[in-house]
Each structure stands twice: as C-alpha cells, then as structure tokens.
C-alpha cells in the first residue's frame, strides 16, 4: 500500500512548483491570443522553390500597405513548404485585399507554384465576441459541474469532499492552461474544448475515490482515522484511475503524434494540452484531493476534541 497521506507534502510541493512554473512562463511568454480571438488575417500558401521571408513581407506591405509577418514552415510528412503571412491590424483584410496579396506574391515569385491552402480573417470585434463566449462557456461548465458535484457529495463527504474536488478541478484546468502558455500555443477554441473536456472528465476520478471512502467508512466504522481511510480507498481504486487515464492518454497521444507528423495545427494545439490534462487529472485525484481531504477531517476532529476538553 502506498502511503499517500504520509508523503502529502511532497505532492503538494510538486503541484505548487508546476503552478509556479506556469505563472513564470506566463510572465515571460505572455498569453497569446489566436487570430480567432483577437482578430486579424492569416494567409497560408504552399510553395516550391525558395522564398525569402523578409522580401515577402515587403511585397505584402506594398500590396496592402500593412505590416505583415511572414513565416516559412516545412512539413515532416509532405514534401511541401508553407508560407504563412499574418497581418494583425485593427481592420481585417477584405477578400479584395487578400486577392491583392496573393496576386503580388504570385507575381514576385512566378516559379514558386504559390497556391493558397488556407486563410482566416476575423474582425477584432467578432474575435472579442468569440472570446467572451468561450469564457462564458468555461465559467458555465465549471458552475454546472460544481452544482452536480455538490449534489452528489451531499451523500459522500459533504462540503469538505466537494471543496477538495473543486481544488483538483482548478488544478487540472490550470495545468492545461499552463501547457498552452509554456508551449506558446495561441489561445483559440481548442483551448475551450480542452478545458471543458478535462474538467468534465477528471472530476469523475475524484468522485470514484470519495465514493470508495464512503464505502470503507461504512465497512470499518467511524473509528478509523481519516488518513488510513483515504490511503486504503486511494490504493483500492488506484489501478482503475491509472488505467482509465492511461487509455485516454494513449488515444489522445496517438492523435497528437499523427497531428504533429502531418502538421494538422487545429488538432495538435488541442491534443497536447489534453495529454497533460489527463496526467494532471490522474495525479490531482490520487495525490492531492485524497490527502487534502484527510487533513481537513483531522483538523476538524482536533477542533472537536479541543472543544470537548
């Protein structure tokens, strides 16, 4: 049996370090919003031959009179190069201006076989709306899941267990956010999807463990100290927690690997944070939520004893 309660401070320290690391990264890297949320235009072209990014920037500026940022990317799986032109002006490029960019680039590089592969234009005002909507979605699902947990935990450990489950929930949401920041993945609707999925999924583990605590409490009577109850329950349901998360981790990692190799940005930016979210979900349940609950219960018992004396 692993003594989770005894080593609790090690686990708490690990979590705090990770959270601190995320915060430091947020200060250094900043939180980047994707064009989807902040507005602007991005045009992606496939090409052969060679293109110089700085020269391309000048051409784009001449065509539409705006500063641009050109990036050259190559792809692992396909023998194909990609030119990404992003313009982050206040006004989104109209399709006519986009045509002008395409025409100017094609003219400047006649032998490069430039072909438009993808473009996204979002008005800043609309982007802001999307962003607000996404944040509301996250807040709303937090709220609804909390209400559900509250109702469920009425029978298990009441307020204390519910509160600890919420700590675990925030822990996981924070880790997912930190992955976006550390890997400099711009925040877009993948972020919303990843956060919602992780909080929806990882709370399940926590409920299972507290369910087990309640069952053991009934079997062993109230005499058993809370730390033993927690250690026993966590150990009993650990294999299940680990295996379930392993299955999810396995499937999402496969998705990530394929998206990485074949350069599918929309999937990659969502799979990577999900991978870490799954690990965090497993860890926060086993190492944080349980021991924390035992501490609360012990504290309450100590308080009761003092009150009696």
């Amino acid at each position: 049996m692993i003594r989770f309660y005894k080593h609790r401070f090690i686990y708490f320290t690990i979590s705090l370090c990770l959270i601190l690391f995320g915060l430091v990264a947020a200060f250094i890297n900043g939180i980047q919003l994707d064009i989807q949320f902040k507005g602007g235009t991005i045009l992606k072209y496939t090409y052969t031959d060679t293109i110089h990014a700085e020269q391309a920037e000048e051409i784009v500026e001449q065509a539409v009179g705006q500063n641009s940022n050109c990036l050259l990317q190559s792809n692992l799986a396909k023998d194909e190069k990609m030119l990404a032109v992003s313009l982050a002006s206040n006004e989104a490029l109209t399709s006519r201006e986009q045509e002008a960019v395409t025409a100017a680039l094609t003219q400047a590089y006649p032998s490069a076989n430039l072909a438009l592969s993808e473009s996204l234009t979002v008005e800043p005002f609309i982007g802001k709306q999307f962003f607000t909507k996404g944040m509301i979605a996250i807040a709303l699902s937090f709220l609804l899941i909390l209400v559900y947990v509250g109702v469920r935990f009425k029978n298990i450990g009441g307020l204390s267990a519910g509160a600890m489950a919420i700590v675990a929930l925030f822990h996981d949401a924070f880790i997912v956010t930190a992955v976006f920041i550390i890997f400099k993945i711009p925040i877009n609707d993948s972020f919303i999807a990843a956060i919602l999925t992780i909080i929806g999924f990882s709370i399940n583990d926590t409920i299972v463990i507290y369910d087990r605590v309640r069952e053991n409490e009934r079997l062993q009577g109230r005499k058993t100290p809370p730390e033993e109850l927690v250690d026993l329950s966590v150990n009993q349901s650990m294999m299940r927690s680990v295996n379930t998360n392993l299955a999810v981790f396995l499937s999402i990692t496969v998705v990530y690997i394929f998206a990485q190799i074949y350069d599918i940005a929309s999937i990659r930016s969502f799979a990577l944070p999900m991978m870490f979210g799954t690990l965090s979900g497993c860890y926060s349940t086993i190492c944080i939520a349980g021991p924390l609950w035992a501490m609360w219960q012990k504290h309450k018992q100590a308080g009761a004893k003092i009150a009696k004396a």
């Binding site: 234009t121 609309i126 993948s190 998705v255």
Partner: protein, 419 residues
C-alpha cells in the same frame, strides 16, 4: 436470460451494425448513408465560410435589404455553378453567413476572387429583345410578391420611380406582345411578355408558378436598388487538398488508437477486456451512425472527439473489471462477483458520464463550427457508452460466464485461489 447464446447474438448484432455504419444501406426510399458519405465540414472537404455585411452602411440593414442581398448571393452562386451551398441570414446582427465547398477538381478556382465577386453591387437591368437597356435597378423603387387581387394568382408588383415610370411607359407601348428580359449582372432572371402598355407608376409580373417563386423574383429585383455592396470581414478558406490529407491522417490515427486501447484491455483484463473491445466497437458504430443518419457535419475536431471517447469509453469496463477482480479475490463466486461488480460500478460510471455530458452540451451550444462537431461526437460517445459499456458488456460477460471453460478466475485477472 443468462443463456449462452446472448454473447454471440450481441457480437453478431454489433458486427452487423458496424458493417451498416461503414457501408450504409438502401431499401427503396429508406437509405442509411455509409461512412464514405459523411457530411464533412470545410476543414475536411475544403471550402469557404464567409460572413458578409453591408459595406460602409451607417445603420443596420432592414430585413428586406438582407433578403435582397441573399438573392444576389444565391443568383451569383447559381451563375458560378455552386449548388451545394448554405446561405443564412443573421437578422439580429445584420449579417449573411455563406458556406460553400471548394471542390478538388476545380484547380483554377480562386476562392478569394469568388468571395469578392459574390458581394459586389448587383447590376439589375430590364432589356428589350435587342439588348437595349430599358430600366436599371435604381428605377425600380420597390418590388414585392403578392397574391393578385383579381385572380389570387401570385404576382410580383413593381413600384417604379418617376423617371422609371416614364421610361417604362415608352418601352411597354413599343413592345406589346414581345418579351422584356430582366438580368442580374449577366444572368437572366425573368423574361415576361408585355401584355399591354404600362403607363402608371406600378407594374405587375404575372404567370408565376407559386408565391415562393414570386418572392424569389421580387427579392432579386429588389437587389438592383440595394444601397450597399457586401463585404466579407470574417472568412475562412481551406483548400481541398489540405483537408483531404488531414482526413486520411485522422482516420489512421483513430484506427491506431482503437487498436492500442483494445490491445491494452485484452492484455490487462483478459476476458472482460475482450468484452470491452466488442463494446467499444459498438460505441464507435453508434457514433458513426449518429453522424451519418442525420448527416451531421463532421469536422477534424469531431474525429478527435470520436477517438477521445474511445479512450474514455473503456472507463466503464475498467471500473467493472477491477471490481469483479476484487470481489473474486475477496472470496465471492464468479456470478455474484460479476453482479456486484456491475452494481457497485454503475454509480461511478454514471457520475463520470454526466459530467462529460455537461461539458459536451456546453460545447455544442457555445462552440462555433468545428467545436460543435467535437461536442456532438463526444456526447454521442458518452450516451453510447451507457448502451455499450454497461448494458451490452453486462449481457456479454454474464453470458460468457456460463461456459465452464471460461470460469477460471485468472481469466478475470483474479488470484487462482479464489474459488
């Protein structure tokens, strides 16, 4: 109820449904489309998604103006032979949402140009048989579809401006019995025959099939006097080559993930693991059918949702299998262990699924485009999980446990000494 054939019936049923979801079926008018005929989002099949709004209009456009603008877009897309499109009006925000595919066989299709052209001001003209222009869009101050007062046939009533009435009067006097052709840009939209000279400020176009046809024509004529052109400030273009590659990659990722999860379940949980694999097949089958039967749009994140729910789905089987093993190790007999396993595990599976359902429903309501599909596949996965991971798995395990050869505790991962 717990008879031996139940397992094989479930397996056969799963296999049959799986084939159905892959290849589809056609019985007379009744058709279920196979996996090959899914309705894909533009991130897979390639296409354009653009939101048009009036250019430099200081006020919100009226409903009639939006209808006219939609008529322009539809007519232009007809002219470009884009039939598989989706044009919707967002009245609250005064915008028009347009989606159309970019087919892979159209190598010289220029989507940026198409977006610009679709939004340009419409040139409406009434022409005589020699091609001479009689009226222009601005000469018609309003057109509306009505039912004729005399005959209650559908008609389009044109209200002409002062100048327009003068020009129209001269032309109709000259052209009795001949056709006047109405063009939007270079597309012929109607060519009524002049029955008698029209001298007043209003004219009627009669002999229309239905009120809808009249409304359609009326909207097109209104577009000529629309005081603005359209501009797409929000738009997303994805080339078909990019999308079709991504589809293949994601399907491959799905197969690999499915294989790995099944392998893991078989090695770790043995007999209940085998049952889990079958249940998982049933779950994915349900998801595929939930996509193809109502032709719900599937995007790349939607496929990721299917793969993710494969990983999440085995949770039910894992909880149950762990519980059965535990109960057997605690000395219970096989049948009682199985029953206890399912009973005790149900509430956990239920809780977990409910919280994922909450997240999925919020994604469906708040998500735009590609997220909607993710939320939908996730939701279907969880709902199917109740059917496959719990009900079907229970039927299969109980059925299998009736075979003497399969009653060995080690097949359930329990210690040998259990019995």
């Amino acid at each position: 109820m717990n008879s031996k054939p139940v397992f094989f019936i479930t397996v056969l049923l799963t296999a049959a449904l799986f084939c159905l979801s892959l290849f589809g079926m056609k019985l007379g008018d009744f058709e279920i489309k196979g996996a090959g005929q899914m309705r894909y989002g533009i991130d897979i099949r390639g296409g354009v998604e653009a939101t048009y709004e009036p250019r430099d209009l200081g006020r919100a456009p009226t409903d009639n103006e939006l209808e006219a603008a939609r008529a322009i877009i539809e007519t232009r897309m007809d002219a470009k032979n884009i039939t598989d499109r989706d044009v919707t009006i967002d009245k609250n925000n005064g915008k028009i949402l347009v989606r159309f595919p970019w087919k892979s066989d159209e190598a010289d299709f220029n989507p940026q140009k198409a977006i610009t052209e679709i939004g340009e001001t419409a040139q409406l003209s009434f022409r005589d048989p020699d091609g001479g222009i009689i009226l222009e869009g601005t000469d018609v101050s309003k057109s509306s579809a009505q039912l004729s007062r005399n005959s209650s046939d559908p008609v389009v009533v044109l209200e002409l401006s002062k100048q327009g009435a003068k020009k129209f009067s001269a032309a109709t006097s000259r052209l009795v019995g001949q056709r006047i052709s109405i063009y939007m840009d270079d597309t012929l939209i109607s060519s009524p025959v002049v029955q008698s000279p029209i001298t007043g400020s209003s004219a009627e176009i009669t002999n229309l099939e239905s009120l809808e046809a009249a409304a359609d024509l009326s909207n097109k004529i209104n577009s000529g006097s629309l005081p603005f052109s359209l501009v797409a400030k929000n738009c997303n273009i994805i080339s078909p080559t990019l999308g079709s590659n991504a589809l293949g990659v994601m399907v491959m990722a799905g197969k690999v993930a499915f294989g790995l999860v099944c392998l893991f379940m078989l090695i770790y949980y043995r007999l209940p693991g085998l049952v889990a694999c079958i249940a998982l097949t049933l779950q994915v089958t349900g998801q595929l059918l939930a996509l193809s039967v109502p032709q719900f749009t599937l995007t790349l994140p939607g496929i990721a949702g299917v793969i993710l729910s494969v990983g999440m789905g085995v949770d039910a089987n894992i909880i149950v299998s762990e519980r059965i093993k535990e109960e057997m190790n605690a000395g219970k007999g096989l049948f009682r262990a199985i029953d206890a396993g399912f009973e005790k595990a149900f509430s956990s599976v239920f809780d977990g699924n409910i919280t994922v359902i909450i997240a999925a429903i919020i994604l469906i309501f708040f998500g735009s485009g590609s997220l909607l599909s993710f939320g939908y596949t996730l939701l279907c996965g969880v709902i199917m999980n109740f059917v496959a991971g719990i009900t079907a798995s229970r039927l299969m395990i109980r059925s299998l446990s009736n075979y003497k050869a399969l009653q060995l505790p080690q097949l359930f991962g329990a210690r040998r000494a259990a019995q």
